[in-house]
Symmetry: C2
Subunit: 475 residues, 2 copies
């Protein structure tokens, strides 16, 4: 387990953590991955937190087919231009060449809005508040485990509304659901914002996003919520009889997050020892490592460990006894640190004699001797503390790595020398945006949800600024 340091080689660190913590591995077809049980359990925790909130906000799940006739994609002009180069195409099935090729969904607006044209007739049919959990395929030239894979798992919400106001409110509501899950459950602070036109979802009127900062000072787009206006309703002929007796096109939103979030979790919290998992998503919250020399000690310690684990599970903790009998405790410590288990409990004969256990927190590394009867509640409380401390830590890191730039030299220096988020005034011109990207690789990650007067000249061209922009180099 020779983990490279983050400072030495962040990409190698990332790859080695994913491998060493048994989260995922590359599979055979280009850019595809196997999500292994430890990585999948984290995704399940994120998924369950999202699904709960989708249902609490009135959404229902459904499922659309993965295979879409190619002609359907072609109806919305910007959408097809955005996705056509990335699609995988089924040309043969059942031993024959198909009359019409089928594409594997890269996203499902096309097939869903085609169905909505039949489902929506009257304002009484609205709103439709639907979501699906699905796999999608986008052919990636530079794949990377979790962050950018040819096939990935995600959810995609697709809603239809009577009015612009309702659709816009939905776009904001779901963005805030994402913020809540990423901040409260994954302990990653995010900025909510608006994308520039260049960074918008193909076919959207506005793309809203949450953006997080990773430990290598690069930004990660962690979720998007799109206000689609009437674009898809017009392309797929979705009209309804309104309260006014007239036919109207429906207003649309779509929103999604994916297994990319697992990559974000690794990079937002990890340190040179490996993962640091927030307790709310940790598959194992407490790992008990038994310490013993003789067979007698082993029997005594394992019996105590099993009893403690049962008691703590009854308090709602996810507890594992690391009873692998071919590994030394020191190896297990390092292995469980690599896996980011929030708390490690050492149980040895001397601990039992003293009626205590030794608890090591993964977030801080602090070791504490905790009297045995109180250890369960102590650990429950520690989970809250670790959850909060990881968030605070990530927030402090982000604030320490956010810089303001007053002119182009400062902007370029901040991006190149410091990294992180760099804020500045922008005139709104795509040329200025493109220049920064070409010269620094940084893109505008977000604009404020509500346009703010930057009160300063454009950082790039010096013309009057119209937006407060935040730049970063991004994944």
């Amino acid at each position: 387990m020779a983990l490279p340091t983050q400072a030495d080689d962040f990409p190698a660190w990332y790859q080695e953590v994913v491998r060493g913590a048994d989260m995922a591995e590359n599979s055979l077809a280009r850019g595809t991955m196997v999500i292994k049980p430890y990585g999948y359990a984290i995704w399940e925790a994120i998924r369950d937190a999202l699904d709960l909130r989708f249902k609490q906000t009135g959404h229902e799940n459904l499922y659309f087919p993965m295979l879409i006739p190619q002609r359907l994609l072609e109806r919305e002009k910007e959408h097809v231009e955005g996705f056509a180069p990335e699609v995988a195409v089924v040309t043969h099935a059942g031993g024959e060449e198909l009359g019409e090729p089928l594409i594997v969904r890269p996203t499902s607006e096309t097939i869903i809005w085609d169905a909505y044209s039949r489902w929506i007739q009257s304002y009484r049919d609205l709103p439709l508040l639907y979501n699906q959990w699905a796999n999608v395929v986008r052919w990636e030239m530079r794949p990377r485990l979790f962050l950018r894979t040819t096939e990935f798992l995600w959810q995609e919400g697709h809603t239809a509304h009577e009015t612009r106001d309702e659709a816009w409110a939905e776009t904001l509501r779901m963005l805030d659901v994402y913020r809540d899950v990423v901040e409260d459950v994954m302990a990653i602070p995010v900025h909510k914002g608006r994308k520039t036109e260049a960074e918008r979802f193909p076919g959207a009127v506005e793309t809203l996003c949450i953006e997080a900062l990773m430990r290598d000072r690069k930004a990660l787009q962690s979720g998007t919520s799109h206000y689609l206006g009437k674009n898809f309703a017009e392309a797929y002929g979705v009209t309804f009889l309104g309260r006014d007796g007239e036919e109207h096109h429906a207003e649309a939103t779509s929103w999604g997050v994916s297994t990319r979030l697992v990559g974000g979790l690794i990079m937002a919290h990890g340190d040179d020892k490996g993962l640091r998992l927030p307790p709310k998503v940790a598959p194992v919250q407490v790992v008990i490592v038994p310490i013993f020399r003789s067979d007698d000690e082993q029997a005594r310690v394992l019996e105590a460990a099993t009893r403690l684990a049962d008691g703590w599970r009854a308090l709602g903790l996810r507890v594992k006894v690391d009873d692998r009998d071919d590994l030394r405790p020191g190896y297990k410590f390092a292995d469980q640190e690599l896996r980011g288990v929030p708390a490690r409990v050492e149980v040895g004969p001397r601990d039992l004699d003293a009626e205590q256990v030794t608890v090591a927190r993964r977030d801080t590394g602090d070791k504490t001797a905790v009297p045995l009867p109180a250890a369960g509640p102590w650990l429950v409380d520690a989970m809250d503390q670790i959850q909060r401390s990881l968030f605070d830590d990530a927030l402090a890191f982000r604030e320490a790595n956010t810089h303001a730039a007053a002119n182009y030299d400062e902007l370029r220096a901040a991006i190149t020398d410091s990294g992180g988020f760099v804020t500045g005034s922008w005139c709104g011109a795509p040329d200025c945006e493109a220049r920064v990207k070409a010269e620094t690789k940084a893109t505008i990650r977000f604009l404020p949800l509500e346009r703010e007067d930057p009160g300063a000249a454009c950082t790039v061209c010096g013309e009057p600024g119209t937006e407060r922009a935040t730049w970063a180099i991004a994944y």
Copy 2:
């Protein structure tokens, strides 16, 4: 809502129930379907019940890619012969023709056992008890909503073991998990059994199954659990260092159930009014239909309905107020019956004056006036009763439609005239099995898990019988 009767036209009844209850519809690509929210919520309930039990029996979820290089499929001879004619093939992606075609998984033994060859080195790595929830594609010539669709949702467990005994115990254990979910949660009685060689999964040594009887007296294979022996370990080179210091091939199982179960639920319980849903899987367990004439009555009744719904939800019931203001109560009654909601509660001004509600049970049609303070607990209790009564009803139906045949004339007459399950002695010869199939369309649905001496001559050929077989015409 002109629902055909089951007796008149069962397939039309099925199709109309699926449509009318808003469960699913055909989609654009051949044989694909959209699972609509009401159908998907039922699948979610089944899935959650299964997933809980998988985890309770020590299994973990993971996720393998959907796209599999074609050459991988070709390693296990029977497996490729079984699945090659059904696969969909991706030949183009990212705007180019692929060097090697990728197949869309029809099942995942091939890609999983290829990975297991790297994951399994020593007996310490065993057992692997993994499951995945996924979509699969099998090109179907005669598709039918839920029962046989080109793409379907399922779970597939894939386990690896040191010994034959362990793998066989796992095969039986998971078959019993399926029996438990289908009987206890879905209220459908099933037979556990063994498939004949002709009906086995391609590549399996033994295929075990659960078989249920539908209301049209046809059988539905509702789940399968395969003992794969060393077939896949040999094909994919999965060996491990055993406790004896020697290299061994791993023993395997795989097991799966799919969205086909939703079709089984419809056909096992439905009647001429539509679905009858067991409370444990019903998305809505109690529907409140407000009855009113004037606006004043409407306000009073809706206020009461909302209050009652909140109180009953606090007891754990899934309650919906059918407050659609453009529909008459009689229409709602029929609509909610079609949707199979276990209990309907009518609330009108006279009910409120008398401090009672009128409850109609979907399973029996019984209507009862229930005093208001006691209505919540009464409904909770009714859910248990309905769950049990649907099971008992299906069991009685199955028993009334199970016949014993002593000779070929009886066998043929029972299959052709009565339908249902027909039991008889079988000599074990594939010819006898094939003759029954050719002449009656019935197949051997299962043999007992443990071979039983039938104590009689083969029902087909009159030679000595070696197995007790159960025939039926099946989906």
